[in-house]
Assembly symmetry: C2
Homo-oligomer: 101 residues x 2
């Protein structure tokens, strides 16, 4: 992984379980994109209406061009968009020290 997409997704706290149940279907759309490496989803303890999506990409362009500018992006948004209560907040991070136990 060279780039991690970091997205705060804002949803109705009561709909978090539905979002989590739907997520594998949306994840399959992500996972079909070239340069996709992994995805994980977390939900906020202090902010129960916030889901944290982390996606490992081979490069920044794999996300911004290969995914965002492909026909996969509207399919992804069609699945997750109906849950939004605000615009997602998306940033990118570069791993500096890898996960080590």
């Amino acid at each position: 992984v060279t780039v991690v997409e970091h997205a705060f997704i804002h949803v109705d706290p009561e709909r978090v379980p539905d979002f989590v149940a739907m997520f594998p279907e949306a994840r399959a759309v992500l996972a079909s994109s070239p340069g996709f490496q992994w995805a994980e989803l977390h939900h906020g303890l202090e902010r129960p209406g916030v889901l944290l999506l982390l996606v490992g990409w081979e490069s920044l362009d794999a996300h911004l061009v290969g995914f965002r500018q492909s026909e996969r992006f509207p399919r992804w948004r069609a699945l997750i968009g109906p849950y939004f209560t605000a615009d997602p907040e998306v940033e990118h991070y570069e791993p500096a020290v890898a996960r080590t136990p």
Copy 2:
């Protein structure tokens, strides 16, 4: 992992390489705390002065009590605190869908 600590650490962008080089020493203090599972460090592409620290803990109390209320916390802060340009922003997340390729 049942809880992920998610911390935005704000530093001078020019000191990011020094922070990264120091981090293994600070990480060793974290890692000596009961219930610690892993740690990873990322740095922001859009916000070059932001480091993202993710720490896997066995429970919320492992972080908030076992670590924060121990003598390890001042040792950790003594190492990372000198780099701060603002207070860290700390939240906790619960894994909902595990990292899968």
